[in-house]
């Protein structure tokens, strides 16, 4: 059983600067996804629409777009669940490269501020660090981030201020800060509570609403604000404590 859908695709040609909507009719069976529909339009009608895709099983994070106004992955969004006509547009808050392909380089580069690694500088390891299931639980949610950038697209702050590190980098920072094997915490908190860090977030929470993996970046940011306050108090007290102990000597 197939049903007819009208697919409207936002196009952009960087060579001419032209913007328009392509309209295609498609007959879809129950299990056709938005990604399947685009593939079919490109392969059968040779529409030449540019978009990203890879795994088609909602784990690689390539195919984020705005479908009927919502930030989604196209590969796990089924036509049968959508209202007709189906409108596909590029993610927001990014420069459009071509059609549905947006430039996420700068947002990916912001991961750098998250210091997304532990400090172990070893090249070989023969011993095992114990990590209890309880400790693992602390990083379980935030380590699910697939870097699809839907949260960044949904973030109203990032839309106004590109200097903000954004929810994806913040969630990843939280994940490493909470890792029992990490020792870089203090330095990372300096970076996170800096000028472009978590304080810019005013907790709209859209990032968590659109996350396809329930990472809850908004929650992670709020927790980091608390960590940040404690960190600030600690670093403000530290020199005094040090000087006290010195004066005692």
């Amino acid at each position: 059983m197939t049903k007819k859908y009208t697919i409207r695709i936002r196009r952009y040609d960087p060579q001419t600067g032209k913007n328009w909507y392509d309209i295609h009719n498609i007959y879809a069976e129950r299990r056709m996804t938005v990604l399947d529909a685009l593939n079919q339009i490109n392969e059968h009608e040779r529409a030449g629409i540019s978009y990203r895709s890879s795994c088609r099983m909602s784990i690689c994070g390539s195919c984020g777009t705005i479908v009927n106004g919502k930030s989604v992955l196209m590969c796990n969004t089924f036509l049968k669940d959508l209202e007709d006509p189906v409108t596909i547009e590029p993610l927001r808050n990014f420069a459009i490269v071509k059609d549905l392909v947006v430039d996420t380089d700068a947002a990916m580069e912001k991961l750098r501020d998250a210091l997304p690694y532990t400090t172990f500088s070893i090249t070989k390891s023969r011993c095992e660090s114990v990590q209890t299931p309880k400790q693992l639980e602390k990083i379980k949610q935030t380590s699910q981030c697939i870097k699809c950038m839907l949260c960044v697209s949904a973030c109203p702050i990032y839309g106004l201020d590109y200097n903000f590190m954004g929810p994806a980098a913040a969630a990843i920072a939280y994940r490493y800060n909470k890792d029992s094997r990490d020792h870089v915490g203090e330095k990372r908190l300096d970076s996170l509570t800096g000028r472009n860090g978590v304080w810019k977030c005013n907790f709209v929470g859209e990032c968590s609403n659109v996350c396809p993996k329930n990472v809850d970046p908004a929650g992670a940011i709020q927790k980091m604000k608390v960590m940040g306050v404690l960190h600030c108090i600690k670093s403000a007290l530290k020199p005094k404590l040090k000087s006290k102990s010195k004066s005692k000597k």
């Binding site: 960087p14 060579q15 299990r31 490109n42 392969e43 059968h44 040779r46 030449g48 629409i49 540019s50 978009y51 990203r52 895709s53 890879s54 795994c55 088609r56 099983m57 909602s58 784990i59 690689c60 994070g61 390539s62 796990n76 490269v97 071509k98 392909v101 430039d103 996420t104 380089d105 990916m108 991961l111 750098r112 997304p116 690694y117 532990t118 172990f120 070893i122 090249t123 070989k124 390891s125 023969r126 095992e128 660090s129 114990v130 990590q131 209890t132 299931p133 400790q135 693992l136 990083i139 379980k140 380590s143 699910q144 981030c145 697939i146 870097k147 990843i172 490493y176 094997r181 990490d182």
Partner: protein, 569 residues
């Protein structure tokens, strides 16, 4: 044309093996300039889809000898045993290294790294991170690259050519998709880590990006390919989409059931049942279909994978992604209903021939991961050995490419070579034909599904070769409609297709040459293994032009401790 860019090491591919290679080289020498060229963002690489786990003998009751033996028997004695011994020796340290880097391995109650059972493994030795092991490993490795200022990333650059001179590899040509421009690179060493060629097949668990690009680049540059006839079919994928349902579902205790409500594997691998090796279980399913014991669904025959008895808690804790995938893509909740599954192409055991240093037959050219063939997988890979292979041999390729780069001076590809390659791409873009590249790709995939599938014979193989040759001729009349060079999907598909059409021919040719049945290579006309004639690798290299029939030679399998005997489970 922009001026040539220079790095010490170029790594093509940013999946598990490529990133591990980059980290290995960067640690060895922080002064080396290392570039990763990936046709997608590294986090979109197919490693991300690996689910079940990564093998290493870390359990208290386990040792590397057991791991080696299982791997060699699993390979149906085609693996090189010295390579397997090296591999098993280094798996554990790689697991522990990633553990220090923050990879969230699943834990047992005491906080030790947990292991689970997997097919063909005699002990529990599959280390895992829920059932998203590849995802966690890939992201952990990717994030780690931010620590090294000498690792440069070229995201979404598609490599079209390896340049060589009489001393070896000199550089590459790549398309910068975002700018729609071509760019030449020179380097002292090049590592290929582009994964397998699963998208030669339609019915495959692989991502659309798994198009064997690196294998073709290496072949074109004169490197030998090895064991290309060995293609693995995973027993449990979702019908229609081919989405993988991990072997861990059976490792944790899941059952495979036919339409008679029987655990039919009792008739095929009675001692191992659901934990038998992939090649045997896949053939068992096909045999059940032929007996009329399969279920009939809208997308063909299937059997059922039942994990209901594991209970919701275990499923949520150890197999959360399987539940998510079954619900999302099959509208089936495995807590309440069995999952319909059927075999699909999964892995290419063959690939670019390398030694244990990752060195190919071309000086300065290295390869690691699925794209390479060391060989540790032989005729049938055991599940969870491939993630470990990416780590162990990724690290090796990085290390030896770095050593090579330290010892050698950079040489440039010639202006003539660069001009020829630019001309080739321009000609494809402006070719005045009438053939649709997507249609040729579909026909190639259907041909491979039918002629180079789970069960083969001479008649189907030779007619398969004829069909592929016909498609190769059609390919010369291809027409690209998309004229904008920025993110030109038709151009990339066409370039991928050019390579796959050659790799498909090579796969069929090698399968036809191997007149025996071994591991995943099963022929009805030669149903027995023949060690007298075929206990050897088939090495395939370019002979004359790229359009000529390749040359095939044999190389003996290295046997150290394990003499071939009948493979029975």
């Amino acid at each position: 044309m922009n001026p040539i860019k220079e790095h010490d090491i170029l790594i093509i591919g940013g999946g598990g093996a490529g990133l591990r290679a980059a980290l290995s080289a960067a640690q060895l020498d922080p002064k080396l300039s290392i570039a990763i060229l990936s046709k997608v963002y590294p986090t979109r690489s197919h490693t991300v889809s690996a689910e079940g786990g990564c093998a290493a003998a870390v359990g208290k009751d386990d040792n590397i000898k057991n791991h080696a033996e299982d791997t060699i028997i699993g390979s149906d004695y085609l693996a090189d045993q010295d390579a397997v011994e090296f591999f098993v020796k280094h798996c554990k340290e790689e697991i522990l290294l990633l553990e220090k880097w923050g990879c969230p391995w699943s834990r047992s109650a005491d906080g030790a790294i947990a292991v689970r059972a997997f097919g063909g493994m005699s002990k529990k030795r599959t280390v895992f991170a829920a059932d998203r092991t590849g995802f966690f490993m890939l992201h952990n490795l990717f994030e780690r690259t931010y620590l090294h200022p000498n690792i440069h990333r070229y995201n979404e650059w598609y490599v079209t050519k390896l340049f060589t001179d009489d001393k070896g590899v000199t550089g590459v040509m790549a398309i910068h998709q975002k700018e729609g421009e071509m760019q030449a690179f020179r380097a002292k060493a090049v590592i290929i880590a582009t994964g397998g060629a699963g998208k030669m097949y339609k019915n495959s668990t692989n991502s659309v990006i798994k198009t064997g690009d690196g294998m073709y680049l290496a072949y074109d540059a004169g490197a030998a390919l090895k064991d290309m006839e060995f293609v693995q079919f995973h027993p449990t994928a979702l019908p229609k989409t081919g989405i993988l349902i991990t072997e861990a579902a059976r490792g944790e205790g899941g059952y495979l059931i036919n339409n008679k409500k029987e655990r039919f594997l009792k008739d095929y691998v009675p001692e191992k049942m659901e934990l038998g090796p992939r090649d045997m279980i896949t053939r068992a399913i096909i045999s059940e279909y032929r007996k009329g014991n399969g279920f009939n669904g809208p997308y063909g025959k299937y059997v059922e994978l039942d994990i209901r008895h594991l209970g919701e808690k275990v499923i949520n804790e150890k197999l959360p992604q399987i539940r998510e995938l079954a619900i999302e893509f099959m509208h089936t909740d495995p807590v309440k209903m069995p999952i319909p599954v059927t075999p699909a192409q999964h892995y290419t055991m063959g690939g670019i021939s390398t030694d244990i240093k990752g060195q190919t037959t071309v000086p300065g050219l290295f390869a690691a991961g699925e794209t390479a063939c060391v060989s540790i997988n032989g005729a049938n890979r055991l599940g969870s050995n491939s993630l470990a292979e990416c780590l162990v041999f990724g690290a090796q390729a990085g290390k030896y490419a770095a050593t090579h780069a330290q010892k050698n001076k950079v040489r440039s590809p010639s202006a003539g070579q660069i001009k020829t390659e630019t001309g080739r791409i321009e000609k494809i873009l402006t070719n005045e034909g009438n053939e649709n590249p997507f249609k040729i790709r579909d026909e190639m995939q259907e041909t491979m599904d039918h002629h180079a599938g789970i069960i083969k014979n001479e008649k189907s193989l030779s007619s398969g070769i004829e069909k592929i040759k016909h498609l190769q001729r059609q390919f010369t009349k291809i027409k690209i409609n998309q004229n904008n060079t920025v993110f030109n999907g038709e151009l990339i598909t066409t370039l991928e297709l050019a390579g796959m059409l050659k790799l498909a021919e090579i796969t069929l040719l090698a399968a036809s040459r191997r007149r025996e049945s071994r591991g995943a290579h099963y022929r009805t006309d030669y149903p027995k293994r023949n060690d007298k004639k075929f206990l050897n690798h088939l090495l395939i290299s370019k002979s004359g032009g790229i359009h000529m029939t390749p040359s095939i030679k044999t190389e003996p399998v290295t046997i150290t401790k394990w003499q071939p005997r009948e493979r029975k489970y």
